[in-house]
Subunit: 474 residues, 2 copies
């Protein structure tokens, strides 16, 4: 049951200086989880996931300094060597990265001076703490910017800078539960896993709703599920860009479905805008994410479209909900409505810096560029006879999973079953895409030179129209 | 009900360039919360906390760049000016900080080169992700170090680097609840508020246990409470250093109490070692925190004793619990047993760097220095006729709350009712303490020059022996 364990002590002693971060075995990484090496045990046909220590992990050990280290400088030299090699590997990996929605193109050189300080935004951004080394004044500036973007007045919103998209979802769903303690959580099956994690953590009843081929929530199925649970309020997670297909749930149809099924005000909507929450406002024809509609909260990641050295995010909700929440927390003796309490004070400054430099107009330009480049990628894949799909409002190109795991690893593609995806971010330019396309077309010629080996059919995942398998190609 | 709101647009337009982070009003900050300005409304004698937007917050606004900004360079100049002033205020505040247990003495210059990368440790540290820009190899090195410190074998532990002490508590208590779904959470009333937040989030029954004057859990009261709930398993939060008094719950007595009351194995112990989890192993005579005792998890903060630019922490638990947990998470289709999912990849490198440089011996020396300096501070306070207490195993000096709020603000002291505390960290040297003592003694002479105004009695908080008020002084 317990996975394999690394005995680092068996490693070549030289290795701790020499080794680069181990290149991983893609069999271990792609979802869905299908191999035992990956921590999954098939037992009586039932998949069981075994967490932790399932994979041989490369590790930079920490050794007790020798008594004479300060004189010999050996320790310093060892550490400098590890760091230099690590840095080199990061450069290499950043260059070839395509699979995750992280904007790796940023320059925060001007902020390097702040790394010497232990900046901690304890608790509520709007209530001062007596720890003086904080960055609340940057945080509130960033929050105001996002509240304006999503059209909520300054005196009507509350929010904070989170550690990541997951914390935003955890917070939004918690607020929903506090507003409707017996509410049922509805989320499409293509929602981020943190949504289902929240349901489990919070002991909430959770109903999974089906999706369309595009990855959007299927509102017909949603209506059916609502009908089965008419007596309880509904808490809904609406995806503004799903993880795999970049699908945007139709907020207007979700609201209409609620109302048509008798949920006139017994509902709370959390919008998981991890990636597209910041892009959608700049896409023409996109259904608008705005607090002028009856939504309760929106979260977005800061390290994705904006770009940031570490994960972070923004959570905005209605002040009235937080005040309602606060009436119940007296026994906490705390004015802290955040999940984490202590919070990274550097992240708000990174975000403040980029938002100030780029502004709404800057982001609009970047969004347009990403959508253009995504279309370029999709069109060139299809022109090369490769199955591919691109949702209208998305920069996530879903395509046939490359046959060679080395290739997947090299480009750090996220895969699920027979499909892979590339999220076209501001740092992904035409040149990078051309390099990728050329390499893929060339490799593919060798993978499929034997006529008996055919590319997979992906009609089930992305629809017949987008599938170029031997059965569906026109 | 809704607190006051800042209309930033009303600010002097020059202010956005000129203003330093506003000095806060200490009336707003000290616990317990007692004033309306502080977001608390007394209604029918019932205290109600109103969260968010209760305090006028200084904010650095984000303005849309002008079309010609790139040519004029005005925007860059504005931002550089804000950052330079902010940096100056951080230097000043770092210099005078005494109230929070953060080691502000670190030099991570060698790691500045890594700020250019978006380092993200997605999910389980022991399972590779296909996002290549991670620092798992550092993270696992740090985790191994802590597992060794707390005596858990490499193949028997699981853990991860968290965003802060709160995340460690949230995780430890969640694991406890998954092991005993109908367990009751017991925590002393001086536990960190995140423990009670967890109970609320997780919908757990929670029983508060009384404390001794020292701040330690009162095991007689604990026994009584256990007797009232004999039918349900116990999940216990044990404090290895409480927030206010730095009190260390006696782990051995807690275990004995459980066993004497019939809880032979129906219990789960989480040790909240936010600060002292890393110091205790180096204190002679301290009851040992070790997995050789029947504990389930230990958490510690990384930005406290180690020192780190941003909050972070370490969570170590038994692998068997995580595997038990995993059997229940199939529907998550996730191998992620962390709370946060996306995690800051820089924090592990900071910790790795310091642990490698200092080693166990280095920390031992620092712990001894802190305890010595804490005794120095306590002795000098008492010699000056000032009420003060120092727990035997602690570096947190609790003393009479200074009368002048300006003084509290200047030294960033955390206060609660009539007491304040100073946490003596490695960056707090004798010189800094002497400066503080001299200033306090001098100020005090003026605060209490009028005989009718007397220092407060703090016997209720720290005991008669430690109280130097007019009634209790010998």
């Amino acid at each position: 049951m317990v996975g394999s364990v690394v005995d680092v002590s068996l490693m070549d002693p030289c290795e701790k200086v020499e080794a680069l971060p181990r290149e991983f075995d893609p069999k271990e990484i792609s979802c869905p989880i299908t191999s035992e090496a990956n921590g999954v045990v098939e037992e009586n046909g039932k998949r069981e996931i075994v967490l932790g220590r399932n994979v041989h992990t490369m590790c930079f050990t920490i050794d007790e300094p020798d008594a004479d280290d300060e004189i010999t400088g050996e320790k310093e030299a060892y550490m400098a060597s590890v760091l230099a090699r690590y840095r080199k590997s990061l450069v290499e990996r950043t260059k070839h990265h395509l699979g995750y929605p992280y904007n790796l193109d940023f320059d925060y050189g001007a902020l390097g001076q702040l790394q010497h300080f232990s900046i901690n935004n304890l608790g509520d951004p709007f209530i001062e703490s007596n720890y003086g080394v904080h960055s609340r004044q940057f945080e509130v500036g960033v929050l105001d910017w996002f509240a304006r973007l999503w059209e909520l007045e300054k005196d009507e919103y509350w929010g904070y800078i989170t550690n990541c998209g997951t914390e935003g979802n955890l917070h939004g769903i918690l607020v929903g539960r506090e507003v409707f303690p017996d509410g049922i959580l509805y989320a499409s099956k293509e929602s981020h896993y943190s949504v289902f994690k929240a349901a489990r953590m919070y002991r909430m009843e959770c109903v999974k709703v089906g999706t369309l081929i595009s990855g959007e929530i299927d509102c017909a199925d949603f209506a059916d599920k609502l009908q089965l649970n008419k007596d309880k309020p509904a808490i809904i997670n609406v995806n503004i860009g799903t993880t795999v297909k970049g699908a945007v749930d139709d907020l207007d149809t979700v609201i209409k479905t609620l109302q048509e099924n008798g949920f006139t005000d017994r509902f709370y909507i959390h919008c998981d805008g991890a990636l597209f929450g910041l892009m959608m406002p700049f896409v023409k024809r996109a259904p608008k994410v705005t607090f002028k509609k009856p939504i309760g909260s929106v979260s977005v990641s800061g390290h994705k479209f904006v770009g940031c050295p570490m994960p972070c995010g923004v959570q905005i909700t209605r002040l009235q909900h937080i005040n309602a929440l606060s009436r119940n927390v007296e026994y906490l003796a705390s004015r802290d409505a955040t999940i984490m309490g202590s919070r990274n004070g550097h992240a708000p400054i990174f975000l403040w810096y980029t938002l100030n430099r780029k502004g709404y107009r800057g982001f609009q330009k970047e969004v347009q560029k990403c959508l253009r480049n995504a279309h370029y990628l999709k069109d060139h894949l299809r022109a090369a006879g490769i199955s591919a799909m691109l949702n209208e409002l998305s920069s996530t190109v879903v395509f046939e999973r490359p046959k060679d795991e080395e290739f997947i690893r090299r480009w750090q593609l996220a895969c699920e079953g027979n499909i892979a995806h590339i999220v076209v971010m501001p740092n992904v330019n035409i040149e990078k895409l051309d390099n990728f396309l050329n390499e893929l077309v060339q490799k593919r010629a060798s993978w499929y030179q034997d006529e008996h080996i055919q590319p997979p059919c992906v009609a089930a995942e992305i629809g017949e129209d987008n599938c170029d398998c031997v059965l569906h190609k026109n």
